[in-house]
């Protein structure tokens, strides 16, 4: 069956707000693949920047589950429903929604094939496929193992599974977090997770402990985290770096065992965050390079490998910008303006982008890293003298304020993208 655009619209909330058929036929066509922070922002802002364009957002799930703040669920501080959003308001803005998987991209024919069999053509394609967890990179850790040793690195069922394991663990248990080498989604995430799990253990199961086995010797906001751990969780968090033998070489799900060079660790709860790469559709479309990630032009976000395809968000090689929701949203807005300009045959002006990442060490203890970026030497580069982390010696009042701003940020970004 070949679905027409009208059929696709019929299946979506957009049905109540169809565009006039003439406008749909007349304007340029843009497809956005992936409805996370990057893709949903790109689709929405593209329609705003270029109202005459037909913008179709292709996303598998009708409900989006946000990763930022999902570590709060593990600590019993939040409900999964607070992480969930839908696409109704994006549809109301005139974006067509196709709740299907994109199964193939033909860059020559400029078309995207959907799981339902429909083939949509585009003038420009924006890919925001996010990450795929690599189930071929850590021996023993495959999709089945993730049901025993959750990664919880895509929010949803996995988050709830890890929460249940933490809840049913006896006091005195050992929780292991396996942290991957760079690059990966949300660089401070494993350490915020360790902090909030420690917060839960300290309150509810004080004889227990979190141990981070790390494939790195350094991590994001490291001094801030470590100082806070010394102050708040001296008996509840242990970090084992790469040079201390922290790299996990294989896992044994049957016995919940993590194997490093010199020892085996038997975990009561094992949270394994495996290596990652750009989502599968990026690999098959040819926009990912040998690293598994997608090189882009830092002005337009157009792929350096395939013309007329732009990549935003975690899947991209974004130079100094980390794989964060803030970055994804900032990149998507710049990319939307660039695509709109290109479709009109206008010149694209050089952008500036900002990132801020909030992490909670405790519900009332927030820390940040920020950066300002510009295109330089073909990548997005840090503007020297700007950005950096929260002051190391800031008073607790500043940490409290940053915890409040963290929550404000989550409300703001989800309202801009989905509200």
């Amino acid at each position: 069956m070949r679905a027409t655009r009208r059929d696709i619209l019929k299946g979506a909330a957009a049905a109540a707000f169809p565009l006039p058929a003439i406008a749909q036929g007349a304007g340029p066509k843009v497809i956005v693949v992936g409805g996370g922070f990057a893709g949903a922002s790109a689709a929405r802002f593209l329609k705003k920047e270029h109202p005459a364009a037909t913008v179709t957002l292709v996303e598998t799930n009708a409900t989006f589950t946000a990763c930022p703040f999902s570590n709060g669920i593990l600590a019993g501080l939040r409900d999964l429903r607070e992480q969930q959003f839908n696409y109704e308001n994006i549809a109301k803005d005139g974006v067509s929604l196709a709740f299907q998987a994109a199964t193939a991209v033909d860059a020559q024919a400029r078309s995207v094939t959907l799981s339902g069999g429909a083939k949509l053509t585009y003038d420009r394609l924006v890919m925001a496929p996010g990450i795929d967890l690599r189930f071929d990179a850590l021996p023993g850790y495959d999709q089945a193992a993730a049901e025993k040793m959750p990664h919880a690195w895509k929010a949803g069922e996995q988050t709830l599974l890890l929460r249940r394991q933490l809840e049913s663990m006896e006091d005195g248990g050992k929780v292991y977090i396996v942290a991957p080498a760079n690059p990966f989604r949300c660089p401070p995430g494993p350490y915020e997770r360790a902090s909030l799990i420690a917060y839960y253990l300290k309150t509810k199961k004080p004889k227990s402990k979190v141990i981070i086995l790390d494939a790195k010797d350094a991590f994001s906001k490291q001094r801030l985290f470590q100082n806070a751990w010394k102050e708040l969780y001296p008996d509840h968090i242990e970090w084992v770096s790469l040079s201390q033998g922290g790299k996990v070489n294989s896992v044994e799900p049957a016995t919940n065992t993590l194997v490093t060079d010199f020892s085996s660790h038997k975990a009561d709860v094992a949270n394994v965050i495996p290596p990652q790469r750009a989502g599968a559709i990026a690999q098959s479309a040819g926009v990912a390079d040998r690293t598994g990630w997608c090189p882009i032009d830092p002005v337009t976000f157009e792929s350096k490998l395939v013309p007329n395809i732009h990549v935003v968000g975690d899947a991209g090689i974004m130079g100094g910008m980390p794989k964060s929701a803030f970055s994804a949203n900032a990149q998507a807005k710049v990319c939307a303006a660039a695509v709109a300009a290109l479709l009109r045959g206008e010149k694209v002006s050089e952008p500036r982008l900002i990132n801020t990442c909030y992490s909670l060490v405790a519900p009332d203890y927030g820390i940040t890293v920020a950066g300002v970026y510009k295109p330089a030497d073909g990548v997005l580069s840090d503007i020297q003298g700007a950005g950096g982390v929260s002051p190391i010696d800031a008073p607790r009042s500043a940490r409290r304020l940053e915890a409040q701003f963290a929550e404000g940020w989550f409300k703001t970004i989800t309202s801009e993208v989905f509200g």
Binding site: E350, R352, I354, T356, V372, G385, A386, G408, K411, T412
Partner: protein, 97 residues
């Protein structure tokens, strides 16, 4: 007749030019709404930018940049922008509703 047509054309050009300028955000401006909500119902303690006087936004940014005004994060972000870039962003937000 000729003059009228010319004036009309000029007016259209001015309007169009004005619209284009209003539509295109200056470098960096689109990132701000990640924290400074464009939706007043978002529920954040971070102040909105849209519709605030340009001088107020620019002065505040320059105070963050020079360290005259303490901030949790804006001091680090403001240092990434030249005074001209700050003026352009401030003027653009002042013109947003």
């Amino acid at each position: 007749m000729h003059a009228t047509r010319l004036i009309a054309a000029l007016a259209a050009l001015l309007m169009f030019g004005g619209m284009a300028a209003a539509a295109e955000a200056p470098a960096g401006a689109s990132s701000c709404s990640g924290c400074h909500a464009s939706n007043p119902k978002a529920g954040t303690p971070v102040p909105p930018l849209a519709g605030r006087p340009a001088a107020e936004i620019a002065n505040q940014m320059i105070a963050f940049k020079t360290g005259k005004q303490a901030g949790t994060i804006m001091d680090r972000i403001a240092k990434g922008f030249s005074d001209e870039e700050i003026q352009a962003i401030a003027a653009w937000y002042a013109g947003q509703k």
